[in-house]
Amino acid sequence: MRDPKWRDEGEEPDYRFTLANERTFLAWIRTALALLAGGVLLHQFATELDPRLVVTVLSTGLGVVAAVLSVVSYTRWRANEIAIRNGRPLPFSWVLPALAAVCLLTSAVLVVLLLVA
């Protein structure tokens, strides 16, 4: 396996920045794994919660978001690494506001379900 081409772009960055980027990638991966565990746990253990369809949609949604995040975390790490190497500003990403929206929506639906139950 050869090194990807972007590894030759620009200059080797300050080690602190590239290590921080690696940690950020891992933090996103953990976020994805936590969302996934939340979704699976919700479906397996919240068996009293009705309507069942909403719980299934919610759990599946969390799983899908986790899948998207796992891909995004890698593409973002790569984009950040390239930006750092070329001394460009880090690319803006919609992941952060989108993730906040997903969490808000999930909590809102869960609160409604719990109140109705």
């Binding site: 940690r23 891992l26 991966i29 794994l33 979704g39 759990s59 986790a66 890698y74």
Partner: protein, 112 residues
């Protein structure tokens, strides 16, 4: 191209240590999901989910190994900055697999 390395500067921010620890935490998160997948597999009698769980346990072990390698790479007089080849892609792929398994477990239980 060889992995990029720099002389250890005695970083007060302990960046190398935090980076190695981040790998260990990720291994733990993978192990939690492996357990969940295995449990779902055994409860619903889905060998596919048990297999996904076993794969995730392997991925978790790999992440522990990478954490150990990273700790060594970031501990000496020279820091190896480049992450191990394929490690990041591998972890992302394992998370993708876990997500697929998680979604499958939701529908497997629904059918059972």
């Amino acid at each position: 191209m060889a992995a990029h390395s720099v002389p250890a500067p005695g970083d007060p921010g302990l960046q190398p240590e935090r980076t190695a620890l981040a790998w260990s935490r990720t291994a733990l998160a993978l192990a939690v999901n492996a357990l969940l997948s295995m449990r779902a597999g055994f409860v619903t009698g889905q060998p596919l989910l048990v297999a996904v769980g076993a794969l995730l346990f392997a991925a978790s072990g790999a992440a522990v190994a990478i954490g150990t390698v990273r700790r060594r790479q970031l501990a000496g007089h020279r820091l190896v900055i480049t992450p191990p080849r394929g490690a990041l892609v591998g972890v992302a792929a394992a998370t993708l697999l876990a997500s697929a398994g998680g979604i499958a477990s939701i529908f497997a239980e629904g059918a059972a």
